[in-house]
């Protein structure tokens, strides 16, 4: 994102903005460049337009209560509380004085994105600026009012106090004065930040702000919105990726009970947020629309992808693996060639080789994809979206209008996990809403909102899947067991190639190379921890094999490798922090006494650097003779910097990440046959259930001297290899392919 010189100047002079409210009270906001200039995250966050319009983050009401804007989309990660908590703490008000208001999508707020574990690193400082700036103005106003030095004033609970003269003033009572003051400069605001040890809200376990609505069944989610007159829609797409609807028995469908509209949609746009070809059915209830599919007959042009299958991809990967010893050009993009691995292999005392595989995955958030839109006769579109990257451009594309004709409200989503980084449902609903309004207008009927809801089958069949990976590893050890060469060759289906992963930087010869499986035309995209959610399994699994081959304790072996840097480490990787989480988890889990575990029970370890965070797990697993797996306990040591904003939701996120990892490990797999997804619903895409969850997942956050970074993603990837390495420790069987149920394993 570029910053123009004009905005930079503005940012330096005064970035806070204060507006008086009629009837008392004020609005405190900021110009957005402080947010917009933040770098985009890994995974390529899109360029998001931003404006110079001042936003409003704090409203000071005359009764000395406060409304704080929650700027980002909420999908269950707790951000609706976390960002306002930062403002409220620096502003020095009580959490009980705060009412939250979800922001609509508006460029004045800068990026409003849920993804990449970026919400805290991007927003932590700007939220502090808003709160601290507001507090500084309140203190300055009181100092002027009482003619005392600002240094003699204290704040708390939205009140400024001058202890010496026993005078107090509420923020509300100071509002008129504050509104007439010049805003302080950015430097003065930063100088007014609280010492973190005086935080009263940040770092405290604050409960989810929507909990009451959730436990009482109040409409809380995108799917729950239903303004008067809403019609409900399904959108039936070709089961083969890229296929097109040629014709359909629309007249017959329209005669079904409750069905109001049925029409073929022509494709538009390209890529993840394009409009697919398909058939829309719109009815008085969603069940009627969906039930009409039993009558619907579509002639599809399935297109070229219908010849592709998972079996074919795997066979081609095997063929490509013959190129595993080819060395990529030095400095190549997405590859690594450091030292001379082939020569080192020839001189090695011991060679370890292994093939690892992991599959395509669907995100499967529990709330199926949906969106609602109202297209009105003046050509405007109002949209209620649960996207993780909401954008006016998506429904505009569907409706065939300019984005400036779109208004978008952000609605709580029932889970994201990366699925809602793509907004295909927003594109679709734009199209459907326009057609419905135009068909109604032709019949002399007023416009109504249209709610599009996908079935679970739609959701599994039309995702942007986590790419699978075919990995061919080779490692060389010297006579002492030291790792001297490491190679990974990836037969790639849009796969992540671990060119920038540990043990790079800690082994003299490191090669990561790949060759593409072609054709491969399955849409792929980011899923929770996109860079490492599969790669951690293969890299940390293979490292475990290397440690065993070296005759070493797998945890100590990782520490030993980390202690011998060699060349350029992965970008941003800090060996001391990796060591820190490994040592912490070793101590938490009584790792060194694991030889006392009963037969058939073992402990495994893994660590991962992901999304700027460091996470290490130890897992205890018991495996029965019948391949029945029981994960009994897990321990996580985590370093995401100096400050956990909300420990309650943070622990919840880590435990949930572990339980999601159990789904990846045991049961989740998307396979392709004749260009379409085989798995139809949860019956063959089973999420982890309560009986399978371990009795405890102990979480420890190490507070380190680094900027606070995100947690939602880094907590997931190393859980998978920690479990599979524990299975090896329990049984001697090395797990090189997930999910395990494909190899006859099951939960106990």
């Amino acid at each position: 994102m570029k910053q123009t010189p004009k905005t930079a100047q503005l940012d330096r002079r005064s970035f806070l903005q204060v507006t008086a409210l009629a009837g008392g009270g004020i609005l405190i906001g900021m110009y957005v460049p402080a947010l917009a200039q933040q770098p985009a995250g890994r995974g390529g966050a899109p360029a998001i337009p931003w404006s110079l319009a001042p936003n409003t983050y704090i409203t000071v009401h005359p009764d000395n209560t406060f409304t704080i804007i929650a700027k980002n989309p909420e999908t269950g990660q707790g951000i609706r509380a976390a960002l306002p908590m930062i403002i409220a703490d620096e502003f020095d008000i009580d959490w009980s004085q705060v009412k939250l208001q979800q922001a609509d999508l508006d460029p004045k707020y800068g990026p409003q994105v849920e993804g990449g574990s970026r919400a805290i690193p991007v927003n932590y400082d700007p939220m502090r600026q808003i709160g601290a700036g507001g507090r500084l103005m309140m203190v300055t106003a009181a100092a002027q009012l009482w003619n005392v030095p600002a240094s003699e004033l204290t704040t708390g609970s939205g009140v400024v106090t001058h202890a010496a003269s026993k005078r107090t003033a509420t923020y509300a009572s100071l509002s008129a004065r504050v509104a007439a003051m010049p805003a302080p400069a950015a430097e003065a605001v930063k100088a007014a930040y609280k010492n973190p040890k005086n935080f009263k809200i940040i770092g405290k376990p604050i409960k989810g702000v929507d909990n009451l609505a959730i436990v009482t069944g109040k409409p809380s989610f995108s799917i729950d919105l239903e303004p008067q007159g809403t019609l409900f829609a399904i959108f039936d797409k070709c089961p083969v990726f890229g296929g097109k609807a040629v014709s359909a028995n629309l007249a017959e469908v329209k005669r079904l009970p409750g069905v109001k509209h049925a029409f073929i949609v022509e494709p538009a746009g390209r890529g993840a947020n394009s409009l697919a070809s398909g058939v829309a059915i719109v009815a008085e209830s969603w069940w009627q629309a969906n039930n009409a599919r039993r009558t619907l007959k579509v002639v599809w042009d399935e297109g070229p992808v219908a010849t592709q299958s998972s079996v074919g991809y795997a066979a081609q990967a095997k063929t490509l693996s013959a190129q595993a010893s080819s060395v990529p050009a030095a400095g190549g993009r997405g590859t690594a060639a450091i030292g001379d691995a082939e020569a080192a292999f020839r001189g090695a005392a011991k060679i370890v080789e292994a093939e690892y595989v992991f599959p395509l995955l669907s995100h499967a958030p529990l709330e199926p994809q949906n969106s609602m839109a109202h297209y009105t006769s003046d050509g405007k579109l109002e949209v209620w979206s649960c996207s993780q990257i909401p954008s006016l451009a998506n429904p505009a594309l569907g409706a065939g209008i300019e984005p400036d004709k779109v208004t978008m409200h952000l609605v709580r989503a029932g889970g994201g996990f990366g699925r809602r980084l793509n907004s295909d449902y927003d594109v679709e609903v734009g199209k459907l809403a326009r057609v419905v309004t135009e068909e109604r207008a032709a019949a002399g009927l007023p416009s109504v909102p249209v709610k599009l809801l996908w079935s679970r089958e739609d959701d599994l069949a039309h995702d942007q899947y986590r790419p699978g990976g075919f990995h061919y590893f080779k490692a060389g050890l010297d006579a002492s067991g030291k790792l001297i060469a490491f190679r990974d060759f990836v037969a790639s289906t849009n796969s992540v190639v671990p060119a920038n992963e540990f043990p790079r930087g800690f082994v003299a010869n490191f090669v990561a190379n790949s060759a593409p499986v072609t054709p491969f035309d399955i849409p792929t995209g980011a899923m929770r921890a996109p860079g490492t959610n599969g790669v951690s399994f293969v890299m940390q699994g293979f490292m475990d094999e290397v440690a065993v081959a070296a005759g070493k304790d797998p945890l100590q072996y990782r520490l030993d490798v980390l202690a011998s840097p060699s060349g350029e480490a992965p970008a941003g990787f800090n060996a001391a922090r990796a060591k820190g989480v490994l040592e912490a988890v070793r101590d938490m889990s009584d790792w060194n006494n694991r030889s006392k575990l009963p037969k058939g029970t073992g402990k495994g370890v893994a660590f991962q650097f992901a999304h700027a965070g460091y996470v290490a797990y130890v897992v205890e697993v018991a495996v029965g003779a019948d391949k029945k797996i029981d994960i009994t306990k897990a321990w996580a040591a985590i370093d995401v910097g100096s400050q956990i904003v909300n420990p309650s939701q943070s622990i919840n996120l880590v435990q949930g990440a572990f339980i999601e990892a159990m789904s990846h490990m045991m049961a989740w797999q998307i396979t392709i046959d004749k260009g379409r997804v085989v798995q139809r619903n949860f019956n063959n895409y089973q999420p982890t259930r309560m009986t399978q969850a371990p009795s405890t997942i102990e979480v420890k956050f190490l507070a380190t001297d680094f900027e606070p970074t995100g947690l939602g993603e880094p907590a997931l990837p190393p859980a998978i290899p920690a479990i599979t390495n524990a299975i090896f420790a329990a049984t001697g069987v090395r797990i090189r392919s997930v999910p395990l149920n494909a190899d006859g394993y099951a939960w106990v």
Partner: protein
């Protein structure tokens, strides 16, 4: 066809097709949005309601089979969050995305009527049909214990 049904003690009449599932009668005919759609095949439990006190998957319950049986939905526990399970859920900050929690609470409420003070194993067995995609199972289990203990932490 017209059906009369009793939901949370109130009688409603709806004119719908016989095979329309109770879930969609609740959501789209009665506009009660607390009961959630997750899979449509009885696998996830998000749509759990009580039928004469027994947890059922409302997505698998045609309206024609409901008859005079009492339907209890999440809205019946309490509107102000004062039911012991709702209190425990809030106290322990159970939800992440929260989408499954209505179904979890309904299954848990039937469990506590059947077994006042369930063991871990009894809780897990009773709750196993309710998926939490976010993985809040440890807190759900703890919250059921908390509610069973009258809100006192063990």
């Amino acid at each position: 066809m017209a059906y009369s049904l009793v939901v949370n003690g109130q009688t409603h009449t709806v004119d719908v097709q016989a095979e329309m599932p109770l879930l969609w009668v609740l959501r789209d005919s009665l506009h009660m949005k607390g009961t959630k759609f997750g899979c449509g095949i009885g696998q996830c439990g998000a749509c759990t309601v009580l039928l004469s006190g027994t947890p059922v998957r409302s997505c698998q319950t045609p309206i024609s089979t409901v008859g005079a049986k009492d339907v209890a939905t999440i809205e019946s526990l309490s509107a102000d969050g004062s039911h012991p399970l709702q209190r425990a859920w809030q106290e322990l900050d159970v939800p992440q995305c929260g989408y499954c929690q209505a179904g979890q609470l309904m299954t848990a409420s039937a469990l506590l009527k059947r077994i006042a003070n369930p063991t871990d194993a009894q809780i897990e067995t009773a709750m196993n049909g309710n998926v939490c995609r976010c993985g809040t199972y440890l807190r759900i289990r703890e919250a059921i214990h908390l509610a069973a203990n009258g809100g006192r932490r063990a």
